[in-house]
Symmetry: C3
Subunit: 402 residues, 3 copies
């Protein structure tokens, strides 16, 4: 009498030719697939690929019960991301460097256990601990009550479990592994956005690429916003750690950040009572509008870099949350279409973009773990090349007040 | 050490005599039963019954993960309903006709993933895609803040997973299949309603009956309201599709609907920018106060009819949401105790009913899929008979303003 | 391809020496353990222990689906508690006496299905049916909007599933069984509390001990509050049932409770329209500041007693909810750091305590089921001894108004 829904897609993927790629469907809301605990290694895909594993684990306990986490490992490099939390990247480690941070929230909180409207619209903070969380796409920024509703802090995407989840491994060099998930932000009359959010990694590499395609599946033009909230703590962040970016203009987010304007290029150590300072940055790009930003430790042998395109993501929020270790000692380098002001201000200042019916927009960011002085210096030099002899304007006044 | 709770009820149901019926307990919160993926067919019940299958499937992926869907099929007729979403009917198909519609919300969203208070009390729209969703029973109608709380859009029943779920198949002709679920709306000091919500179907038929029994299990008189929000899109709905009902009085829901008063009997095609028009209707009934309403396509060979009793459900909301296809091209024929105004207005205008302690009230609606000109014409004629030569009053002004 | 995460901790616990204790890890968020349905008995632990069973069951159906319930039985004594609902104690029964009550909420509602902010911040009432529920620890008391947020009724702990769950059985007399769970109240920038909440029971006994250790894991001083909301209905509560405590001072919670000041020591039978009366009590303690409070039926052969320490829990709320049986006929004896006023008032009147960074605070309460006249009289006499000839001050005016 019991009927087990068998994952035909998985069977088919194995039966398929070895010629180009192997695609593993881990979640499919239409085909009734949910693989749960699962893993593959290079042995399951290609005899020639370098050693790697991709594992999916269903977490247990507390508010994280049922959350899934994908772990990709290769040559001592470990990437963790959660399809349940909008494909957010939890942490990346390798060569003694960690991209990520230690939030007091030390579980991968299942969104079913979060009320984004709680605490005056900042329930998002009950789950926030990712190295990279997508803040968007219907809206982003600080919480604000407007239009008869609460625009909750940083939107819904980061707390949306994916409707489809696919692991794709290429059979030919460089044997790229891609994990992609479908995030639906759909509400009758209000929103019809679909985002394929992916992470691609070449086994053995120390970098990976995030590539998102956001599509307005509706018949009406819709606003969208995105901030790639990318967060780094110890061991990269420390006293006198450096923020390096080709900066065209920097301004304080609010009055409190004015005090930090003179030292925006360096960090304090863990500082009780510091809370957070945010700076709004317009970066320079190269001739293709590509730019790179980075954070490195004091001695310059541990760092993290992000490369992105200014046509896609024209602004960067620099979030310095150099409070105590247990409070969350962390800096955010946040490429975005918007700054972190409430949507009301972002609209007013015309940073909220629109998607026509059927239109897609894509975002590509390459994250690089920088281990060793050479890796850090190389990245630094690439940033210097972009800056060239172009000046940095330091604006003393915030562009808006909440 | 591991203990598996075995479904004794299921074993017993099989062991029981074939004389009258077979009852399958799929969910029982008291006995610890949750069958999950499951199916039966006529072969499991009676040798003489026409071919049918009843299947329960646990969905996966995204915000629908864990939602269950019952599918009843017989002779090309397919009914889908979700016990997880308050026994809401997702769609009914047969003979090339579909009762149901295409919402941008294309998952069976698990209520655990919906915050009904979000977006100013209209989180209900994040899950709305049913052919029929129960809007009630503690309250219904548009969201309103009153009495120190938010009365969220259309109440809780449609987002309440059932505490018990029973499939009952009669062993004697006409071998009626009944699926019934127990919806609890219980809050200490506030609400103590229990509703047995059922759908009965005779194998081979093109109609089915919804029968709900709402009981006030508390010691205090309690308000209740219900709107059977029944929704139809393509292929029934199209340009010049017809709404047919024995109408005693029709009035616009608001000022915008005034423009549509002259053409209330027909529909526009998908119309960008139309949004929605709602009309408040008092139908005529026959000598037993039974009435029938229907929607049919332009040529009159595809339609859907609903029969109900005006003592139980005295009013009908006609919802014309003839916006674009992707926005949700749909009309609602909504028998109710109330119109769709906020509970505050419904109270003021005395359409909110009361249940005494221990009192039950029942609602019976028969939905009919109309395939072919004859079926449509027959239903139309039955409606004409009810109307007879009684006049329709068109009231120009809304009865209330939100 | 499928990988099952095996519970190493459980294997190890069995392999370990029999010398002192057996520890069974049922849930561990870090090790990926979630045992689900499970049970042990004295046979699994020690040949000499008196007969007992400890069982964990995963509930099904409705809003309780996925909730877990631990049942401890020994010699006709049955304790039920839910790790999913913050280790709340559902009921305790033995010798014809029941500690607990009949709430209209007759499921063990999974917190994933509760929005604590609903109904104006009193969504907590949608799950309230425990014999003892922890109201805290970040805040407690009546809902209030302040500081730009909603402090929801009685805080989050009671609706927080535990991140770790351990059953520990001593191998030597008296073979104490301890069930302990880890409750995390963590929100970035806002809260970093961890509570090990435990219940210890000696097989065969008619009492058990609740022992909680709350730790501020953050780097900032934080407020905390706790009310051990302990609730008793039939058969202990009845007309002329008695509340007995060594009372130093009693005052009405609000104007309505003034009417009940003269009869605070006895109860009404189920009384339609009574709703609830609350009294604020400062108890006397013995020379170690230990105190005892109790409720007993009219004839004094069925009762429940709670022993606690006034340094830990200086105040007692007496909640008389002697409304009808179906509305919830129940009294609460609620030792706390605070009364049930909103946190704003509790702060003003300086009953909100603080935890320094890294600091822990502990609470110990011993609950005793009193079956038979002797047991009741003994407990009563112990209370009388504490009161001695010390006077009870009856304050006529509430100490605060909401």
């Amino acid at each position: 009498m019991k009927v087990k829904i068998i994952s035909l897609a998985m069977i088919l993927s194995f039966a398929s030719s070895n010629a180009f790629a192997k695609e593993f469907v881990l979640i499919d809301n239409e085909q009734g697939i949910s693989t749960g605990n699962w893993s593959i290694s290079n042995k399951d895909t290609s005899v020639k690929a370098p050693a790697f594993t991709v594992q999916n684990a269903v977490l247990t306990g507390g508010k994280q019960a049922g959350s899934e986490v994908i772990t990709i490992t290769s040559g001592g490099f470990v990437i963790k991301l959660s399809p349940t939390r909008g494909m957010g990247i939890l942490s990346v480690e390798g060569d003694g460097v960690r991209m990520g941070w230690d939030s007091p929230v030390n579980e991968v909180v299942n969104p079913a256990n979060i009320n984004l409207e709680s605490r005056g619209g900042i329930g998002w903070l009950e789950g926030f601990n990712e190295m990279m969380v997508r803040c968007g796409f219907e809206w982003t920024g600080h919480a604000v009550e407007a239009d008869g509703m609460m625009y909750t802090l940083h939107g819904n995407a980061g707390n949306t479990p994916v409707s489809k989840l696919i692991v794709d491994v290429k059979d030919t060099a460089p044997y790229t592994i891609t994990v992609k998930g479908l995030i639906k932000e759909k509400t009758f009359k209000k929103s019809n956005l679909e985002t394929w959010a992916s992470l691609s990694y070449v086994p053995g590499a120390r970098s990976f690429t995030v590539h998102d395609v956001v599509t307005n599946q509706g018949d009406y033009e819709r606003d969208y916003q995105i901030i790639y909230h990318s967060n780094f703590g110890m061991p990269i962040l420390e006293q006198d750690a450096q923020f390096i970016a080709p900066v065209k203009e920097i301004s304080p987010f609010n009055d409190y950040a004015k005090e930090g304007l003179k030292t925006w290029q360096t960090y304090l150590g863990p500082t009780k009572g510091f809370d957070e300072m945010v700076f709004n940055i317009y970066p320079y790009g190269d001739d293709k509008n590509q730019t790179k930003v980075m954070v490195a430790n004091k001695t310059g042998d541990k760092g993290a870099g992000i490369e992105f395109n200014l046509d896609q993501l024209p602004v960067l929020s620099l979030w310095k949350n150099t409070d105590t270790l247990k409070q969350g000692y962390v800096t955010g380098l946040e490429p975005g279409t918007s700054f972190a002001y409430p949507v009301t201000i972002e609209r007013e200042q015309q940073r909220v973009r629109k998607l026509a019916p059927g239109q897609s927009v894509e975002f590509t960011l390459t994250y690089r773990l920088l281990a060793g002085k050479k890796a850090v210096d190389d990245y630094k030099n690439q940033i210097k090349t972009i800056q060239g002899d172009q000046l940095t304007t330091v604006v003393e006044e915030p562009m808006a007040y909440e």
